[in-house]
């Protein structure tokens, strides 16, 4: 398969400008002849739908939520990066580019990342104009804070609800276009398949989640803005309905899936408290500034933390990383917590947690100082766990948080299927093997507001504006496929609910393809996932019927795709014989247990091609070329 990133030669800083100039344009009068289908109305989708409608295109937008404002983007907390340099602290487009490339452990394209940094400044302007109430200084100017992986303050935020405020901005722009009649909004509508006509993406098949009605929509291009796939792991910080079905079904229609094994695990989440647990809640990383992470030295020590004397505690991050201590990066902190729990030294009822202790900080700075800094986090922790973190250490554990992998896209955000685009967390484009905090919101909005409006014209200009109807056989065939899928799921009538199978899958993925991976473990995990998939199609129990609101059916249809994607993640992790970013292979570490990259052999994007049911996916490599940054090994000792 031939694929080309379409990034122009030439100096980094000129690539995007030049590229925009080489793009073909659709003249204003012709834009209204084109119909664009936008799937997903989170940050990426809402910003794209609104911007394209403003340009004059006809947009149909789809979400399974009851309103665009409920997309998972709403939950983002910390902030959004932009190279504004308002703080005069040495930030620049180049520095944001550099931090992002390095933070991604040198597994992203220079050209893409530079463009992201370049348009980041426009995003802030746009959002402020929409009325997004970013935090401000007393003088009325915008405030910033700093985030992991950066030495400058470039993160814009709206208290702990940045994602909410940005999404409401994009949602209001979208609502304006709905009112103008330029966007037709379909809520509680799940996209079940992509329809190809003459080798191009020309439409979708949807299922109305209230009535179960299956129908088709045709257009000239399809944009997938459907979010990440962290829920393959069952437990994650993602919203419960996040799923991978749209991207996975696109993959089956020919779109390559890139770097599926690159997942981010966040070290400070509230640990699992029991079998019934449905999701994991993120606690701010900032807690590690004052909290000390420890576990008992002895395995199986069940004493209360207060009763364990200082000499019998192991402050394992401080011990292993004397210079960074508790502030090592996300992946390092997560991995080490796992190691001590694997040794039987984990704490709490489940043994899957480590302490984050503020006793010393409270002794040093006083209760009031700590409460002023972290009071709200402490409250939240108390609310969820019923324990008082002022009196007893918090218990934390890592959790799946974000997926860097996704559909392969070129510089125009087009997948390997002509006319099919992927944006936001759904694509793989900008974060390499590890995403920096506050960069996902930036990327989603960059894609939607400032990239796709330029690049989609280049494709549309080459195709006739003639509309096709959904009476064509390609649409009928795809609809039949969906109807049959529903029928098949309902007819199995086995013993296990979709939720049970999802949970089992999550456990396999977490144990073998989570924070730490080995060839041996991955091989056995692959067998286990295959067996589970086989069991799913034989033994799943889906209640109710197809022509009503049916949560059991929705879940089953998503879990079926998680099972297949899970296997590909394992295959990808097995193929990548190196450790980089969020991908840690036990065989590839330095003498003192740190991640060991292999730039000579693995500085490439692994893009997988679907070859049919139960066939091995085929690997295609996009070599990564670094002309501007020098590849170095990270060290936090």
């Amino acid at each position: 398969m031939k694929f080309d990133s379409k990034i122009l030669e030439g100096p980094l800083a000129e690539k995007w400008t030049k590229h925009k100039f080489t793009q073909k344009l659709v003249n204003p009068a012709n834009k209204r002849k084109y119909d664009i289908i936008v799937v997903g109305t989170g940050l990426a989708g809402a910003s794209a739908a609104a911007s394209l409608a403003e340009l004059g295109y006809n947009v149909k937008a789809f979400t399974y939520h009851d309103s665009p404002r409920r997309a998972h983007s709403i939950a983002a907390q910390g902030g959004i990066n932009a190279a504004k340099n308002y703080q005069n602290d040495g930030d620049s487009v180049y520095r944001l580019f550099y931090d992002t490339i390095k933070g991604g452990d040198y597994r992203a394209r220079e050209g893409n990342v530079y463009r992201l940094a370049e348009v980041s400044v426009d995003i802030i302007d746009q959002c402020v104009a929409q009325g997004v109430p970013f935090a401000r200084e007393y003088g009325g100017l915008l405030a910033n804070r700093s985030f992991g992986g950066a030495q400058v303050s470039r993160t814009f935020y709206a208290r702990g609800q940045t994602g909410q405020q940005l999404l409401l901005g994009a949602y209001s722009a979208l609502s304006r276009q709905v009112a103008n009649g330029k966007v037709k909004m379909y809520t509680r509508t799940e996209v079940m398949d992509i329809v190809m006509v003459d080798g191009k993406a020309r439409g979708i098949v949807t299922r109305n989640l209230i009535t179960g009605k299956v129908e088709s929509h045709a257009g000239h291009a399809v944009l997938l803005c459907t979010g990440g796939y962290g829920n393959v792991f069952y437990l994650s910080t993602n919203a419960l309905n996040c799923n991978a079905s749209a991207t996975w079904r696109a993959h089956k229609k020919g779109a390559l899936f890139a770097n599926p094994c690159f997942t981010q695990i966040h070290p400070t989440c509230i640990p699992v408290s029991g079998e019934y647990q449905s999701k994991l809640t993120l606690m701010s990383e900032s807690l590690r500034n004052d909290g000390r992470v420890w576990v008992p030295k002895k395995a199986g020590d069940k004493r209360k933390p207060e009763d364990i004397p200082e000499a019998e505690r192991d402050y394992f991050l401080e011990r292993r990383y004397p210079s960074f201590g508790n502030l090592v990066p996300r992946d390092v902190a997560s991995r080490n917590a796992k190691y001590v729990c694997d040794e039987g030294r984990g704490v709490g009822e489940s043994g899957l947690a480590v302490y984050l202790d503020f006793a010393d900080a409270i002794k040093r700075d006083g209760m009031n100082t700590i409460s002023a800094k972290y009071g709200n986090l402490f409250d939240m922790y108390a609310m969820i766990t019923g324990e008082d973190p002022y009196k007893t250490p918090m218990r934390i554990y890592p959790a799946v948080h974000y997926t860097m992998g996704g559909l392969w896209v070129d510089y125009n955000l087009m997948t390997t299927v002509p006319g099919l685009y992927a944006m936001g967390e759904a694509n793989f484009s900008d974060h390499g093997a590890n995403r920096l905090g506050a960069s996902a919101l930036m990327q989603g909005l960059a894609d939607g507001y400032f990239v796709i409006p330029y690049t989609i014209g280049d494709y549309l200009a080459t195709m006739p504006a003639d509309k096709i109807t959904v009476d064509r056989p390609e649409f009928k065939e795809a609809e039949t496929g969906v109807v049959n899928l529903v029928k098949r799921l309902l007819s199995i009538n086995g013993q296990k609910t979709p939720g049970q199978i999802h949970k089992e899958l999550g456990k396999i993925m977490w144990d073998y393809c989570g924070m730490s991976r080995s060839a041996e473990g991955l091989k056995s995990a692959r067998e286990k996932v295959r067996a589970l998939k086989e069991e799913f199609w034989r033994n799943v129990k889906v209640v109710g019927t197809g022509d009503e609101l049916n949560l059991s059916l929705e879940k089953a249809s998503r879990v079926a795709d998680f099972l297949e994607l899970g296997e590909l993640m394992i295959v990808d992790a097995l193929n990548r014989n190196e450790s980089c970013g969020g991908h840690f292979r036990e065989e590839y570490q330095t003498e003192d247990g740190e991640a060991l990259r292999d730039d000579a052999n693995y500085a490439y994007v692994a893009a997988w091609e679907y070859k049919g049911p139960n066939q091995d996916a085929e690997l295609h490599k996009e070599e990564l070329i670094f002309e501007n940054v020098k590849l170095t090994q990270r060290s936090y000792k």
């Binding site: 910003s47 911007s51 403003e54 939520h65 009851d66 309103s67 404002r69 409920r70 709403i74 939950a75 910390g78 504004k84 308002y86 426009d122 302007d125 746009q126 402020v128 929409q130 109430p133 970013f134 935090a135 401000r136 200084e137 009325g140 100017l141 709206a158 208290r159 702990g160 909410q164 409401l168 209001s172 609502s175 304006r176 909004m185 209230i210 919203a239 408290s273 029991g274 019934y276 449905s278 999701k279 809640t281 993120l282 701010s284 409460s371 709200n376 986090l377 409250d379 939240m380 108390a382 609310m383 324990e387 609910t497 939720g499 049970q500 129990k541 209640v543 009503e548 609101l549 949560l551």
Partner: protein, 242 residues
Amino acid sequence: MLNEKREFYLALSIQHLNFERRMNLKLRIWRQRDANSKGALVDYEVKVNPHMSFLEMLDELNETLQQKGQEPVAFDHDCREGICGSCNLFINGRPHGPMQTTTCQLHMRHFHEGETVVIEPWRAKAFPIVKDLIVDRSAFDRIVQAGGYISVNTGSARDANEIPIPKIIADEAFNSAACIACGACVAACKNASAMLFVGAQISKLALLPQGKAERKATGRENGGSDGCGGFWSLLQYRGLLG
């Protein structure tokens, strides 16, 4: 203020910690096949772990129902962090239950052994029932479409720091903007009026200079009200999250 709030939360949670691992509850849940069918309260008995969240308790019930071949109780939810506004249960006669938090943030330790818990959908004309506990809140979207935006096209914004906005105004605008569109205010109001929600939308736009040009046209002249600041305690709750 900060400490008071802390005491409040801790008092509420800690005192229940000594519960047995499982407690017995009787649930009376509104079941309704679809918009056109008649609904009724149906009784269920559950044994719950007090550490569970309210929705996890329902998840467990739903797993049991499905294993028995029965349909799960349909309810809306997604983020389970108190921010998406999806969850919306009317619990023992109060929207979101007894704790002044969103339904998803409510934990079972706030109930006691043997208690009967009545779970109903939002009941308001504006929110027709879709199925069981799920209602149609698309009226909120229509309100925003009717003028809940500033008319600015992508690309035509000036530099973000060109219009300074005093911190106090920015903070106030934020408070209104924090509404999560859960609909509790409508469900709680005897007249099922959406005034809190609408107030929240209007006042954000009326406060900010960016909304100025359009004030007359969209009725934002009167300033609106603060809304509830995003389901009551939500703000305090997530305020400093990083």
